[in-house]
């Protein structure tokens, strides 16, 4: 397992095959499955953005949903309140999320570890409360609906394909960042801020940078989600989404580029299939998380890594 996504031709092949497979399932398995897949991919992007923060910056956020929500509302409000054309508004969502990340991040990076996490929680709750209570502007608890054709009016299948494309592009962008000098700086500060400082790197500036980047990607996910649902509700910025994303990252595997992605796939698919059998979804999820964390503390990705090593698929050292 490696923190950096190292792509061998074989892995490219597997990734390509998976994308093709997803698209096939999308086209052939019925509209219901397309919806599940769309949600899965959007959450995968959201979880990946949190993973960027956690696995590389070693910053654990308890309030990442704030930027998901800001992305959704940035887009929705631009369309519903300022009559911005939809094509333009999709860029406003991530920008608003990034600005939110800049403001809150500037405060949060003054703290470290659990104090950092608690401050992100406070910031997220403030965001949630404002969205929930500012009736005249955000629509309060009943949110904003009916301001546009959901999915830009695309069919469920076509929208899922669009989301897939966006996700792949975003993953490329994230991989690019992670492998760049900036990515190296982010990891350096994440590992040992004092060493980084002694080398002449200002830790807070780096942390703020990655915080904003993660917020922008969360904002893209939030914008996609608002388009998907055709609505925005304060819940999007709530603790529920944050916890879901945290669970995804940990389930998928911390310290791995693919952690958020894999975790989202597991969680959404688990939910989809478990709910068909029993209504005790929370119980099942709780037990599954418990078992997985106890049995596979490195996350599911580690198994994939070990398996591929066993099969000789991994990169030779």
């Amino acid at each position: 397992m490696n923190v950096l996504p190292k792509m061998t031709p074989l892995r490219w092949g597997i990734a390509g095959a998976l994308i093709v497979l997803l698209e096939l399932v999308n086209r052939l398995a019925g509209v219901g499955m397309s919806l599940v897949l769309t949600e899965m991919l959007i959450l995968a992007l959201f979880a990946s953005s949190l993973n960027l923060l956690m696995s590389y910056g070693h910053m654990v956020s308890f309030g990442h949903a704030a930027y998901f929500g800001l992305g959704a509302y940035g887009f929705t409000l631009a369309v519903a309140r300022f009559d911005v054309p939809v094509e333009l508004a999709v860029f406003i969502g991530p920008i608003v999320a990034g600005l939110g990340g800049l403001v809150f991040g500037a405060l949060c990076v003054r703290l470290t570890e659990i104090y950092f996490a608690m401050l992100t929680l406070a910031c997220a709750q403030i965001t949630f409360t404002v969205l929930f209570q500012w009736y005249d502007f955000t629509g309060g608890d009943t949110g904003i609906t009916g301001f546009m054709n959901p999915r830009f009016g695309l069919t469920e299948q076509n929208f899922m394909t669009l989301v897939l494309v966006v996700l792949v592009l975003c993953l490329f962008a994230m991989a690019w960042i992670v492998k760049s000098p900036l990515g190296l700086s982010i990891r350096s500060v994440g590992q040992d801020r004092w060493r980084a400082e002694a080398l002449g790197l200002a830790p807070r500036r780096v942390q703020l940078t990655v915080f904003v980047i993660a917020s922008v990607f969360a904002g893209i996910a939030g914008t996609l989600f608002a388009v998907f649902q055709g609505s925005a509700f304060p819940d999007y910025a709530g603790l529920g989404f944050t916890l879901d994303a945290l669970i995804m990252v940990v389930l998928g595997g911390l310290n791995s580029f693919w952690g958020g992605l894999v975790g989202a796939v597991i969680l959404v698919q688990l939910e989809h299939w478990v709910l068909m059998v029993t209504s005790h979804w929370e119980l099942m999820l709780g037990l599954a998380v418990l078992v997985l964390v106890l049995v596979l503390p490195q996350g599911v990705v580690s198994v994939a890594g070990r398996l591929s090593n066993m099969l000789g698929l991994g990169r030779k050292k």
């Binding site: 405060l107 703290l111 406070a122 409360t129 929370e282 998380v289 418990l290």
Partner: protein, 276 residues
């Protein structure tokens, strides 16, 4: 009231460095156990009520202990995040099981007759029950301070809070300490839930309501600081009351702002200091 919840949470964090998301769930369990016990033990009497609460607390402590031993103990070495996620898993499990057993409806625990009604001082009514809760909370706090100050267990506990390595050097069984602290934390949560049960409704969503407030109190009080938690509980209670009067729209934002301000002030105090 808030203090009781927060003290358990802060205690667990102080010693084990675990952010226990399941603390609200343990509180809720305490309320439901009390609901189940009150009709069985001398219903309507003060003694019966307190006995029920205590038993409920012990039941919650037992559940906390079992959870600590089978799950949490295995991940003390792992990143803090793992422990956190495990407690989140516990939140989900408890919530679903409670809904399974007691159903989704709001339940009502009858108040002991003696605590109904109000003290009438001049024209002002002072409901009795909050005073009872406050008194019980104070009593628990005094007991805890006593234990921490004057008993061997307390000394070991303080050693554990200050420096885990030192505690190990003292020949302390670290596992035992962690387990018992978690159980005591759970006990406090359970008692808090039981005590508060007759005052409001009891439903399976109490956990979320409680945990966020408890976090705020613990953070404002200084993570792991028992006396801080007491002061913070007061502060939050007063802020809320004043907020409702003067800034009804902002009362919740206000409390989070205080939390953020406290955190930032703390960081300024430490600014430039070494990490170790």
């Amino acid at each position: 009231m808030l203090f009781l919840i927060a003290s358990g949470l802060t205690l667990i964090f102080g010693v084990s460095r675990i952010v226990n998301f399941a603390h609200g769930s343990l509180y809720m369990l305490g309320a439901f156990f009390t609901y189940a016990l009150v009709p069985l033990i001398a219903p309507g009497t003060v003694g019966g009520f307190f006995a029920s609460v205590l038993l409920a607390g012990l039941g919650v402590a037992a559940i906390g202990l079992i959870f600590e031993v089978i799950a949490l103990r295995r991940v003390y070495g792992a990143p803090e995040l793992m422990q956190l996620i495990i407690t989140v898993a516990l939140v989900l499990i408890i919530r679903d099981v409670v809904r399974w057993i007691w159903g989704p409806n709001s339940l009502s625990v009858p108040m002991p007759d003696a605590f109904m009604g109000a003290l009438l001082i001049g024209d002002n009514y002072f409901p009795i029950f909050p005073f009872v809760i406050f008194g019980a909370g104070l009593a628990v706090m005094l007991v805890m301070v006593g234990v921490i100050r004057f008993t061997r267990a307390g000394i070991l506990l303080r050693a554990g809070t200050d420096d885990r390595g030192m505690a190990a050097l003292l020949g302390v069984n670290e596992k035992l300490i962690f387990s018992s602290v978690f159980a005591v934390g759970a006990l406090l949560a359970g008692i808090a839930g039981g005590l508060a049960a007759p005052y409001g409704d009891v439903n399976y969503l109490l956990d979320t309501t409680v945990i966020v407030t408890a976090f705020i109190v613990v953070v404002i009080g200084g993570l792991g600081n028992l006396y801080g938690a007491f002061a913070a509980a007061m502060l939050v209670g007063i802020t809320k009351a004043l907020g409702i009067l003067y800034f009804p729209r902002l009362s919740m934002v206000l409390i989070f702002l205080i939390m953020a301000a406290v955190l930032l002030a703390r960081s300024l105090g430490r600014q430039g200091g070494p990490s170790r």
